[in-house]
């Protein structure tokens, strides 16, 4: 069975600085997809960034980038130039290539301090 582990329950960062959130996963699959979702307080989860396992190049979306290490089964999220609006729960998620359901980690609560 696939599992997703986020080892940092809470993190904080100063505004404008960079922070990295960790995620590891366990799978025997070769075809899969990885996602980071953000959940602001009392709001729905929104997709931040996604990575296809078959792509070697790390995904980037503006201030958000990932460090995807397939052999190590690691998928960390880097947020550059942190903004107050980045304060949220961040969930790492895994999806097998042949299925639709997402498997989530427990989340990391990120606080950006002014």
């Amino acid at each position: 069975a696939q599992t997703v582990t986020q080892s940092q329950p809470e993190m904080s960062v100063q505004e404008a600085e960079t922070v990295t959130l960790s995620c590891t996963y366990d799978t025997s699959e070769n075809n899969y997809y990885l996602f980071w979702y953000k959940q602001p307080p009392s709001r729905q989860m929104i997709l931040v960034i996604r990575q296809e396992a078959y792509k070697q190049q790390n995904a980037t979306e503006n201030r958000f980038s990932v460090n995807f290490q397939k052999a190590a089964k690691s998928f960390s999220l880097k947020i550059s130039d942190s903004q107050l609006g980045d304060t949220a729960m961040y969930f790492c998620a895994f999806r097998r290539g042949s299925q639709g359901n997402l498997i989530f980690g427990k989340g990391t609560k990120l606080s950006v301090k002014p």
Binding site: V4, Y33, Y37, S42, R43, Q44, M45, I46, L47, R50, Q51, E52, F91, R95, G97, S98, Q99, G100, N101, L102, I103, F104, G105, K106, G107
Partner: protein
């Protein structure tokens, strides 16, 4: 921007009662999902639904649960006889396609409290 909506935002019910949680997926999406998150725990997949039938379900989704798309817009999750352990946040999601890197769009959730 289109979004998934859910009602009610908070539902309180007594143990043994039936509850129906409602979701309106994004209009051109064809795949629908329910997830739940017990307080302090991870978000867990319950069920996916396509073409008026269940396409996948987890072991959590037992005979107490059912899903339905009663009309062209709503997608519902019914819990027949609620238990204390059903207290959780329930999230609905929808996607245009089910697999690969296609995004699932989530609703804001319904907090279910069973007393």
């Amino acid at each position: 921007e289109p979004e998934v909506t859910q009602t009610p935002s908070h539902q309180v019910t007594q143990m043994g009662q039936e509850v129906i949680l409602r979701c309106v997926p994004i209009s051109n999406h064809l795949y629908f999902y329910w997830y739940r998150q017990i307080l302090g725990q991870k978000v867990e997949f319950l069920v996916s639904f396509y073409n008026n039938e269940i396409s996948e379900k987890s072991e959590i989704f037992d005979d107490q649960f059912s899903v339905e798309r009663p009309d062209g817009s709503n997608f519902t999750l019914k819990i027949r006889s609620t238990k204390l352990e059903d207290s959780a946040m329930y999230f609905c999601a929808s996607s245009a396609l089910p697999q690969g890197s296609y995004e699932q769009y989530f609703g804001p959730g319904t907090r279910l409290t069973v007393t």
